[in-house]
């Protein structure tokens, strides 16, 4: 099996977000592999261990993302590719799609795994976009994958319900929580990862012009939501508190 994982370096989910002049302040922040992409890496390793083959990690970003690729290699992936996108103007999901597709189009992938959504941008677009450009099927939000005879039987989460779909390979799948329990890199894994191949490419290497991958959308501002004022803690006998709460929700907040 020729297995690829697309992953993104993101802010640690515990980080507090700060914004200056419409830009996210990254100084001193901790970065991680997007949590949903970790499920994708774990699943890719399990698929390889069952069916044989090789797991290649691919990310689009800057050189800092090498750290996240090394972590994925330490988990057990075989090799990694970093595609630098610093020349891309207003990079958006279209840009990422176009860059990944340019890299993956001649790789004969059987399955490409990614996260259902990145916890920073939160659009969940890149997986299905990539599948369309490559002419692959796609299944999003998957919680179970079985592969046999050139087909994948997949359980996907549909707003809390489970749908079981059968799809022919090659396929792009995006991982939902519940797919697996990602392993922590072991110490020998970390040592080995240092020697595994990590290739760095830029747009020229993929025969892409900056114009080909310029974003179709543009972020013009970022801001924090207004801080919420501390609310009202009710007091008195419990029965009275319950009555007061219901009355407040009905008459003051008007939400019931």
């Amino acid at each position: 099996m020729n297995i690829y994982v697309i992953l993104k370096r993101t802010f640690d989910t515990e980080e507090k977000i700060q914004i200056e002049n419409g830009e996210i302040v990254e100084d001193g922040a901790e970065f991680i592999i997007n949590p949903y992409d970790e499920y994708a890496i774990e699943e890719a390793i399990q698929i390889r261990d069952e069916h044989g083959g090789e797991v290649t990690l691919v990310t689009v970003g800057d050189e800092e993302a090498e750290k996240q690729l090394r972590t994925g290699l330490a988990m057990g992936a075989d090799k990694a590719v970093l595609i630098e996108d610093e020349d891309v103007e207003d990079g958006d999901q279209f840009s990422t799609q176009a860059i990944l597709a340019a890299y993956l189009q001649d790789k004969d992938a059987d399955i490409i795994l990614g996260g259902n959504v990145a916890v920073d941008g939160g659009s969940g677009q890149v997986g299905p976009r990539l599948a369309e450009q490559l002419g692959f099927n796609h299944v999003t939000s998957v919680v179970k994958i079985d592969i046999a005879d050139g087909k994948a039987t997949i359980e996907k989460d549909v707003e809390g319900d489970q749908q079981i779909v059968e799809v022919s390979l090659p396929v792009v799948v995006t991982a939902q929580q519940g797919l697996n329990e990602p392993r922590y890199p072991s110490l020998p894994g970390i040592m080995k990862a240092k020697k595994k191949p990590l290739e760095t490419l830029d747009l020229d290497d993929l025969d892409l012009d900056e114009d080909d991958v310029e974003g179709k959308t543009k972020t013009v501002d970022r801001y924090l939501p207004p801080e919420k004022e501390a609310g009202k803690i009710l007091e008195g006998e419990l029965d009275d508190q319950v009555k007061e709460l219901v009355s407040l929700l009905k008459n003051e907040a008007k939400v019931i």
């Binding site: 599948a131 079981i164 059968e166 543009k218 919420k228 803690i233 407040l248 009905k250």
Partner: protein, 323 residues
Amino acid sequence: MSKKVLVIGEVRDGAFRNVSFEAIAAAKEISADGEIVGVVLGDNVSGLANEMIHYGADKVLTVESDKLADYTPEGYSQALQAVIDQEDPEGIVLGHTAIGKDVSPKIAARIGSGLVSDAVGIEAAGEEVIFTRPIYSGKAFEKVVVKDGIVFATIRPNNIPALEKDDSRSGDVQSVDVDIKDLNTIIKDVVRNTTSGVDLSEASVIVAGGRGMKSEENFDILQELADVLGAAVGASRGACDAEYCDYALQIGQTGKVVTPDLYIAVGISGAIQHVAGMSNSKIIVAINKDPEAEIFQIADYGIVGDLFDIVPKLTEEFKKVLV
């Protein structure tokens, strides 16, 4: 501006999901004077089409096929491609639902366009349309414009109010014939985990439990409260990790991000992970035995005490008031 905007409605269990009507209101924001064209896909859906007109669409196109009875990316994208080719729209809007999230990027890639996902606000500024959308799971927001090509967006349910329904509005309903090719994706089975019919992402009221619920069985008292309120039941990651409930119910940075009118957090401490998924709710009620719990800092109303005493009393009191 008088752009033509397609609004793709979503039918579930024989009725439109409310976000379909919210998407019509969003289309009007994008193009106040333009033609709003509703689109409905399915097996037997033409009877529903008029409802989109009542909510503001000027005409509705239906594509009917047994291959569209269940959603598949290929089936829907073939049908939508045919409609887009016929209408040549300048905008497309649909709900940011399981289907909307799945099909919209595929269409965007196919037509080579941008896509603004999960918009919670839309404002027109001259020729430009500015979308507001949450980033970092609602810890921040961004404003996005489309630079090039079609204005294509999915909207988060429950954020852009639908227009008032007007049964006297009328318009054309036309069917579009599309020869849907064989599908590579076969739906084998659907397992319904959601107990009540209320969907977490679309619910206007959510009752959510945390580790303080102590067991799977105890979630029953939350379901009883939810039933009285017509609410959906959700959970914190802690409750899911402890196997009190399915991960499908998880609200938080990993999990679902929700914005109901009323969020009742029961036995939830308010870790940043969870708060990221619900802090944009309009009204937050916290019930927790620990007066220092962080959830009280973002709650509009709080009761400090034993949830096992409070929740049944609350259910009874709502029953009295809501009959």
